[in-house]
């Protein structure tokens, strides 16, 4: 066991590459549990942030500022009656939510939380991610079909049309980022591996967002729009447009199965955000690697994760002290205090020199993904839903030509030194 631990701590590659079954399994379990927990608390964060955008308070009653609301919600969902419509196709109805959730979670096999922190590093990582995440639409179609009801069917049809058409623009935008990996000086060949893409950004010393400005930016914007459509979120949430389709493809679902759809949706949101972070925002790299470089800055930035957790712990303990001193609040208060102490302990562990270099990658990655989650909520709070024809027009007539153009121009600009020499030779 100790042997395994030291081996793990010394390895510089992912457990999958090192061939360590044990650590790969642990990683899978940790990622599954972590993402589920994130989904639960993003749900709280979304309700809370959405409420503040709409000058409301949001959940306030269960725990301080409604912090325990997701737990109450989960409990309620699990205890709810699980109905299957009389004429539904039972087997397909039963399988559909599992397809959606599985597709959303399998993607995390290759998400690089750090150079060592991924389950494995596939040489076709990004291809795998795009392929598996598009399987989610299959679950949505089967859900709509199996419900044997008008609204779910219409919702799932919309969803499939939307996902299929936005996948094209998304894929082209991704290709232009992959193309950029091949312009690393001295290497000459690109890579599809998720870790390789981040390493390429490191080697080129620039996030692909700023590469060949504004080409990287445009590709990123195309991807950012397409990924909202892919995950069926506002303003492209036509498959679940409440005003016309009740709740879209999951109208007939309730209880546990419905919560699986929610889990799948939010897990998919995190997954596509991590694609965007990996491709354009430098993955696990800390911010300002060029502007604030040097070992001093490295140390300072590696202290940030621990400090962040200590800050969270301080906030939690402060609000524990401010809890009402009533008997009915005793369990909540003790639980919150324990949570605060736990956060503090995590923060202290993260400050230990050996650990902090290894952990900060995960922190920066998650921070960037969290920004995307915030943006998702912000968009949802701000923009009205598109009409279906507008949605298709944006997808096919704007994003597709734009991403295709960016791809071509990126190729030309990237090869311009070679083109110049070739032209000189010809002339």
């Amino acid at each position: 066991m100790l042997n395994q631990l030291t081996q793990y701590l010394q390895s510089t590659v992912t457990p999958g590459q090192a061939g360590s079954m044990l650590w790969a399994t642990i990683y899978i379990l940790v990622i599954f549990a972590g993402i589920s927990l994130c989904v639960v608390f993003i749900n709280w964060g979304e309700r809370k942030a959405l409420a503040h955008f709409q000058i409301r308070l949001g959940p306030m009653r269960v725990g301080p500022h409604g912090l325990l609301q997701p737990i109450a919600d989960a409990l309620k969902l699990l205890l709810k009656e699980d109905t299957i419509p009389a004429n539904a196709d039972k087997v397909v109805f039963w399988v559909a939510p599992f397809i959606v959730t599985t597709a959303a979670f399998v993607v995390y096999l290759v998400v690089p939380f750090g150079p060592q922190h991924a389950v494995t590093d596939m040489n076709i990582g990004i291809l795998f991610m795009l392929g598996v995440s598009s399987l989610g639409v299959l679950g949505i179609i089967t859900a709509g079909w199996a419900s044997n009801s008008h609204y779910p069917l219409l919702g799932s049809l919309r969803s499939s049309a939307q996902m299929v058409s936005y996948e094209v623009a998304m894929g082209l935008a991704v290709i232009s980022a992959i193309l950029m990996t091949s312009f690393t000086p001295g290497s000459g060949s690109g890579t599809l591996s998720m870790i390789g893409i981040v390493e390429a950004q490191k080697a080129q010393g620039v996030w692909f967002l700023f590469k060949f400005f504004p080409l990287g930016l445009v590709a990123f914007v195309v991807f950012a729009i397409a990924m909202i459509a892919e995950t069926n979120r506002a303003p492209f949430d036509l498959p679940e447009a409440e005003s016309e389709l009740v709740a879209g493809f999951h109208t007939e679902y309730s209880g546990f199965r419905w919560s699986l759809f929610m889990l799948g949706e939010y897990a998919a949101m995190i997954a596509v955000s991590s694609i965007a972070v990996t491709l354009w925002l430098g993955g696990w790299m800390r911010p300002f690697p060029n502007l604030l470089s040097g070992t001093n800055w490295d140390t300072i930035f590696s202290l940030v994760p621990g400090a962040f957790f200590l800050f969270l712990s301080a906030v939690t303990l402060y609000s524990t002290a401010r809890m009402p001193k009533k008997l009915t609040f005793r369990i909540q208060t003790v639980g919150l205090g324990a949570f605060g102490l736990l956060l503090g302990a995590v923060g202290l562990v993260m400050l230990v020199p050996g650990v902090r270099e290894r952990v900060q990658d995960i922190f920066w990655f998650m921070l960037k993904v969290a920004v995307f989650m915030y943006l998702y909520i912000w968009y949802r709070a701000t923009w009205p839903r598109y009409r279906f024809d507008q949605l298709m027009r944006v997808g096919w007539k704007v994003l597709l030509p734009l991403s295709l153009g960016v791809l071509i121009v990126t190729g030309v600009v990237g090869l311009s030194p070679e083109l110049m020499t070739w032209l000189k030779g010809v002339l």
């Binding site: 503040h52 955008f53 709409q54 000058i55 409301r56 308070l57 306030m60 009402p324 968009y379 701000t382």
Partner: protein, 153 residues
């Protein structure tokens, strides 16, 4: 074709404007929600709500002289005033006063008409009751005011 609209479209100016607007609304100062049982909203000074029958603070006796003006003024005829003449002082003494809140439209004509300012519509807005019978307030309940739980934050 004018250039400005095209630029607005390309750089998504309108969308960004909307985003900045909603972003500003996140300021906790903007929050409009009242956490009702914990925080009681302030209504206007002249708001007409739950009725109250006033007492003389020194003697603790009712100010009502049983003149029946309020009952006559009320368009809904929901106030009943019963009285008997005190044989000694030869004055009318209030024996029964009921106020059927379920029919009241809070027009305030009763308090306008009262010659001693005995009946008053207070700014208390929690007039809900558990039963229809509970809506009929007698003299005691009108004088004591509602009995309710106060919530603390």
């Amino acid at each position: 074709m004018a250039l400005a609209p095209i630029f607005r479209k390309i750089f998504l100016v309108d969308l960004i404007k909307g985003l900045s607007l909603t972003f500003r609304y996140q300021d906790p100062k903007e929050i409009y929600t009242e956490q009702y049982p914990l925080e009681r909203p302030q209504v206007a000074e002249r708001y007409r709500g739950l009725p109250r029958l006033k007492m003389n603070p020194e003697t603790g006796k009712t100010l009502c002289i049983a003149c029946d003006l309020c009952a006559k003024a009320c368009p809904e005829n929901l106030i009943t005033v019963e009285s008997e003449r005190d044989p000694v002082t030869k004055r009318k003494v209030l024996t029964k006063y009921t106020f059927d809140l379920s029919r009241c439209m809070f027009c305030g004509l009763c308090e306008e008409s009262c010659s001693t300012d005995a009946i008053e519509l207070t700014p208390d807005y929690e007039v809900a009751q558990y039963s229809r019978d509970g809506m009929v307030l007698d003299q005691k309940r009108l004088e004591e005011g509602p009995d309710r739980k106060e919530y603390k934050r």
